[in-house]
Amino acid sequence: MSANSSTRTFRPYTGEKARIARAYDYLVLVLALFLFIGSFHLHFALTVGDWDFWVDWKDRQWWPAVTPIIGITFPAAVQAVLWTNFRLPLGATLCVACLSIGTWIARIFAYHYWNYFPINMVLPSTMLPSALVLDAVLMLSNSLTVTAIFGGSAFALLFYPSNWPIFGMFHVPVEAGNSQLTVADMFGFQYIRTGMPEYLRIIERGTLRTYGQVAAPLSAFFSALICTLMYTLWWYIGKWFATTRYLKRI
């Protein structure tokens, strides 16, 4: 009832008010861009870390499990803020785009120019397809539950296939040192990393693979399950941290 009455009395901003509101939009967007480039990138580097840094860490078990589970955190929190208060279904895409920008900057300047690694050895993974689908699910469903279950699952399940076109060619076999390696393994062997001995890599460790000799799909479904939980958790973290009390005063 009150909504109907307020709908009838609603008058959109025009003139100077509209211009100021638009300027505020851009101000927030620019700040959000730098905030998410820094914070999400830092969060990602500290948690996913080597799995995303190095081409010879991107295995079919841990990489597709760890990356979406960590990658869905900020998107869920930002979606909670932007969707609940503004009905803006771009939280996931915005976060992942910012992450991509930060990651590419780091790979080019820190890894390539500063530490001399070839960029192809430190290509980042992409989660943009997953983020687009997550935003679309939220917009179409307008439901936390549906987005957590279906969007969260899609976020994880799409990760490995959307990255295989980038990294599949690094899995071509090579014979070296009387053994079979991939091109990615050769990068790890040839391009010396003083603090990264081979044994540090976590490549298909554990018992997750013991189902019909498949690792990646099993890992992706495990990741999907955890992503549904992580999405919900981080949605509430986003809601908890965010406030619109300043907007209410306008």
Binding site: F10, A21, S100, P129, S162, I166, M169, T182, T194
Partner: protein, 481 residues
């Protein structure tokens, strides 16, 4: 005074009034730091008048406090001083010349990987030239209890980034690509082939990464790589026979797919950002205009994304699978390479350590060794090597075969009985390894370790130059006076 300050802020005080109240006091801070005695004086000045009357009488409304004299100058001086210190610091910066090898606990350096005969094939070469480093190491029998056993070890090269690439690596003549399990007491020789990639002057060490233990550095060398970085090539052949340029392989493809998804993502963001966002949408949402915030067209685009993106993903995935049908998972394994037949403690010369004392004031390690010469020639003890330090007996000519750097005490080794040990003879010798290197190389820190034991290699030589190597170990007893 309390009354005054309660009724008005200090920003409303006339400076002349404050000065009058404070008299000649130099501390005229217009805040709560005014001395208690001055508070009383201010109260006396203002007594007898209401605050309003006083202001009216002095024709004041409000004034700002005067800036504190000299405060800005002090700040500037302080900044100038800090800038000067920073400048001196920056001007005296030196390139890093070490890899932290002295920081590792002495017992780890002495009693894990005992390097010797490290040799570089050349130290000046060009981009694309190959250089090899060879050498030997003995895995100490007396492996420290606090260091995990070398079940996974990685023979690495300490470089400032991949200024060289590692093309081949051998342990005991066998090529290997992964980590390896080492056996305490085992003897190994190694060879690593490297290729110059970036021109420069670099300090390079072979070293072992030991799982859960850290790095144990071998002897380093300065390498000079000349030439042009752009000339570097690194092509490898895949099993399918395709030649691959490792410097650029997959880069264009990766950029293409990242760009493709970035374009779609940017389009989606712009689709929303082009409209008024936060304040406008918030007000509309509060007004119940949710349907106008997400239009039917938005929903249709969302449906296209929901269907189209997964279809694209799986289309690209299928294309890649078809393009690289022989792709294999990343490979990882732990190589098992057996030690060589004994090179150290080979059974010809037996050495038993009876006692070890470290005399702190003299920086001298005194080791009582029971030596039995099982060879058919007289032998002399020519060298004791521990950690990164070599103590040489000047009475015995030690053939120098290594161009790798080592920290040497050329006259640091003395024996109580320098006479050669005859074939079949057993003798107890007091060996003294004395030099300030114990301190400067931070090996004397073992007296502070929970596991204060020493380990090292002793080298014997016969008249024909034949060398016999023995590993020694003992608990160290410090002597403080």
């Amino acid at each position: 005074m309390k009354k005054l300050f309660n009724n008005t802020s200090m920003y409303q005080l006339n400076p002349s009034m404050v000065r009058q109240a404070l008299g000649n006091c130099s501390m005229r801070c217009p805040t709560s730091c005014i001395h208690a005695v001055d508070h009383e004086r201010i109260q006396q000045v203002t007594s007898g008048h209401s605050q309003k009357e006083y202001y009216s009488m002095n024709k004041i409304t409000s004034v700002r406090p005067e800036p504190v004299e000299g405060q800005l100058e002090k700040l500037l001086k302080c900044l100038l001083f800090l800038g000067l210190i920073l400048s001196v610091y920056m001007l005296t910066l030196q390139p890093v010349m070490a890899h932290g090898e002295k920081n590792l606990e002495p017992y780890v350096r002495m009693r894990t990987i005992q390097w010797y005969d490290v040799q570089w094939s050349q130290q000046k070469f060009n981009v694309n030239d190959e250089v090899s480093v060879t050498g030997k190491f003995h895995v100490a029998e007396d492996w420290p209890i606090s260091v995990p056993k070398p079940d996974a070890a990685f023979l690495n090269i300490s470089t400032p980034g991949p200024v060289l690439i590692r093309t081949e690596r051998y342990l005991n003549g066998k090529p290997y690509m992964n980590s390896v399990a080492l056996q305490p007491g085992g003897d190994y020789d190694f060879k690593v082939l490297l290729k110059g990639r970036l021109p420069g002057h670099y300090h390079i060490h072979p070293f072992f990464n030991l799982r859960d233990a850290g790095q144990v550095m071998g002897r380093g060398a300065w390498l000079d790589i000349a030439g042009n970085e752009a000339d570097f090539t690194n092509n490898i052949q895949t099993i399918n026979g395709e030649m691959v340029n490792m410097e650029t392989y997959g880069l264009g493809n990766g950029i293409f797919f990242h760009s493709f998804w970035a374009l779609l993502g940017t389009a989606w963001l712009l689709w929303w950002v082009r409209r008024p966002l936060f304040i406008a949408r918030y007000r509309m949402l509060q007004a119940g205009l949710e349907n106008e915030l997400v239009t039917p067209l938005d929903r249709n685009i969302g449906k296209v994304i929901l269907v189209g993106v997964p279809v694209l993903v799986f289309a690209f995935y299928t294309m890649t699978v078809n393009k690289y049908p022989k792709a294999i998972p990343l490979q990882t394994s732990l190589d098992q390479i057996l030690p060589l037949s004994a090179k150290v403690n080979a059974g010809v010369v037996d050495v038993e350590t009876l006692r070890a004392e470290y005399r702190i004031p003299e920086r001298a390690m005194k080791l009582s060794l029971k030596i039995k010469n099982g060879s058919d020639k007289p032998i002399q003890l020519g060298e004791f090597a521990t950690g990164s330090v070599r103590f040489l007996n000047k009475a015995v000519p030690v053939p120098e075969q290594s161009n790798a750097e080592s920290v040497v005490a050329p006259e640091g080794l003395n024996l109580d009985n320098p006479a050669p040990i005859q074939p079949g003879e057993q003798r107890t010798v007091l060996m003294t390894a004395a030099d300030a290197l114990w301190e400067s190389e931070r090996l004397d820190g073992l007296i502070n370790d929970a596991d204060s034991r020493i380990g090292g290699l002793v080298f014997f030589f016969d008249p024909e130059g034949e060398r016999y190597v023995s590993s020694i170990t003992a608990a160290v007893i410090p002597k403080f006076n």
